[in-house]
């Protein structure tokens, strides 16, 4: 157990090292930098060159990477090329809305998906199972943005019940702002997750130890909660880690549609204006979050169903 955790954490550290290189390389590959994107119309070429030197854009990539990494390790994400403020401020200002959105979605999705998955799994191929399976299958085939566009048209434009954008709104004074974005994010995640929980439940129910427990007269309730659920949760927890990726994609789209001043909006702005330090800072934070989620998921799975062999 301990050695698994240690090994897995070791892998996470290697991942972190490689990711930081990748983030830097990927963002440095963006053709055209902030200097020529912003000032070509007003400045002479020599002035652009001077600006580039000032921003440190003329140094060789390896040197820039070492410099950047050194700063990141000490907690300095650099300075935005566009706003001139620290990147850490941009991260801090934008992370709130995204966190609220993601956590609120998960708080609804996870219990519902587990409940649905168990309901389906315990009635394998019954009418209830087939109905819910068909609905989740169909829902998961609709892209986020299509759901978003239709919901906004119906509930904001036609009926006028819910706000269509966050512009001018305040989350604390009008929590109704959250309803449509969460409704969009909720659909696909609940479908993907509940299907995994269903598969896990079916597999656990068919396992020999459950048959044996049944033979011994373990009550149904205890059987489900104590014996089936921990095993059924494993594919669910792994899927949850992967759902992080789906959810992030959804959050990007949802933030764009509802004009939410969150992480994704900041990122898209950064990419479009070639504000490399901002993009690097935001990407790094996101990649670390994804990495930690994966690490947590693996550790939880190992705790639920300890396997004798360690990694792979």
């Amino acid at each position: 157990m301990r050695s698994y955790a240690a090994q897995r954490a070791g892998l996470a550290i290697v991942q972190l090292a490689v990711l930081s290189v990748l983030v830097f390389v990927l963002t440095s590959l963006l053709p055209g930098d902030a200097a020529d994107l912003r000032f070509t119309e007003t400045l002479t070429p020599s002035q652009v060159a001077a600006l580039r030197a000032e921003l440190g854009l003329d140094q060789p990539p390896v040197e820039r990477f070492v410099h950047w990494l050194g700063n990141v390790v000490t907690g300095d994400l650099g300075t935005s090329l566009i706003s001139g403020g620290p990147v850490a401020d941009i991260v801090r200002n934008s992370i709130g809305a995204t966190l609220v959105l993601t956590l609120a979605t998960l708080a609804i999705v996870v219990p519902l998906a587990v409940a649905l998955g168990i309901v389906m799994g315990t009635r394998e191929n019954g009418r209830v199972d087939r109905t819910i399976t068909s609905i989740t299958l169909a829902l998961s085939a609709i892209p986020d943005f299509v759901i978003a566009v239709v919901l906004v048209a119906v509930f904001s434009l036609k009926l006028g019940w819910l706000p269509a954008t966050w512009i001018g709104g305040n989350l604390l004074s009008s929590p109704a702002l959250l309803i449509l974005p969460i409704a969009v994010l909720f659909g696909r995640t609940v479908c993907l997750l509940s299907r995994q929980v269903r598969a896990g439940t079916v597999a656990a129910l068919n396992a020999e130890y459950v048959t044996q427990a049944r033979r011994l007269g373990v009550p149904r309730r205890q059987l489900l909660l104590r014996h089936v659920l921990p095993n059924a949760a494993v594919p669910g927890v792994q899927e949850l880690a992967r759902t992080g990726d789906t959810l992030l994609g959804g959050v990007l789209v949802v933030e764009a549609i509802f004009a939410i001043p969150g992480f994704a909006t900041a990122l898209v702005d950064g990419v479009e204006t070639r504000d490399i330090p901002t993009v690097q800072g935001l990407t790094l934070v996101l990649a670390i979050a994804a990495l930690l989620i994966n690490l947590a998921a693996d550790l939880v799975c190992n705790r639920l169903v300890p396997r004798t062999e360690a990694l792979r």
Binding site: V14, L30, P31, A141, I142, V149, V253, A256, L267, T283
Partner: protein
């Protein structure tokens, strides 16, 4: 249940399955046919006023004929996704098969470990950066979507191939002194096809989503491109004025992904049954 009832119900079940497969194939075929043949159809698209009801499906926000746009917009929407999945399978499949079949542990580890490291990279992020960086080149987006999928494909193929390669069949073939290549291509490669086919459906759906999301965000193709996802994005304010300008491209996209999802679901069931009956 007596025997006759059993036979009758299994026949009914089979008919229902057949109907379900027919429906899913139809759902995939309609958008595919529109995407492939659409550009060749001699359709006379006349421009009109924005969001008017001229023409068969009306016009969009720029006054362009919606049906005319639909016919030419499928190629990028589906083509990029399908191309990306094919590319992901060529690269990831090769890596997975090699890793599974090699006798050198270092080669296996050397190929699979770096992919483990890539797994937690948020995919839409990578694709957005690439899409913007290469000025919305369709090829760059396709390659980026493929690369994001390579780690999972390689893992899946490796696991499936190992499963097949460790069985008694390969043992027997080896004892008959069949060549390594014959075993790999003739048996291991073929038994990988089942799980691959099941995975293909969901992966194509995901790829369509990724490509469409990048285009929808305005980071991909130009905002005036006839692409289906771009159309949904551009005309979303006009949904109530001229619903078809949004709903028609959206429906084609959803039909394609829904059909593939249903087919994948069928295939998962079938390959599981095959595995169980083989035991």
């Amino acid at each position: 249940m007596n025997v006759r009832e059993g036979v009758a119900s299994s026949r009914r079940l089979r008919m229902r399955r057949g109907a379900a497969v027919g429906v899913s194939v139809g759902l995939v075929a309609v958008p595919l046919v529109v995407a492939v043949l659409g550009p060749f159809l001699p359709y006379d698209a006349r421009p009109g006023l924005p969001y008017s009801s001229e023409g068969v499906l009306g016009t969009d926000g720029l006054g362009r004929d919606v049906l005319g746009l639909l016919l030419v917009g499928g190629r990028s929407a589906l083509g990029m996704a399908i191309g990306a999945v094919v590319l992901a399978y060529v690269v990831g499949g090769l890596i997975g098969l090699t890793a599974a079949s090699t006798r050198h542990r270092w080669l296996d580890e050397g190929m699979m470990r770096p992919l483990d490291v890539l797994l937690p990279l948020p995919s839409l992020l990578v694709i957005s950066v690439v899409a913007v960086g290469w000025r919305a080149s369709a090829l760059a987006i396709t390659v980026a979507v493929a690369m994001v999928n390579v780690p999972t494909v390689a893992r899946l193929v490796r696991a499936a191939a190992l499963d097949a390669a460790s069985g008694p069949v390969v043992e027997a073939l080896r004892m008959q002194r069949e060549s390594w290549l014959t075993i790999q291509l003739g048996y291991v490669g073929r038994s990988v096809l089942g799980p691959v086919a099941a995975d293909l459906g969901t992966r194509i759906t995901l790829a369509v989503f990724l490509v469409a999301s990048v285009n929808f965000l305005g980071l991909g193709l130009s905002p005036t491109a006839p692409d289906w996802a771009v159309s949904v994005s551009r005309n979303r304010e006009g949904l109530l004025l001229q619903p078809w300008s949004v709903l028609a491209p959206a429906l084609l996209l959803v039909s394609f992904t829904l059909g593939f999802n249903l087919l994948a679901d069928r295939l998962v069931h079938r390959s599981r049954r095959l595995v169980e009956s083989a035991r």
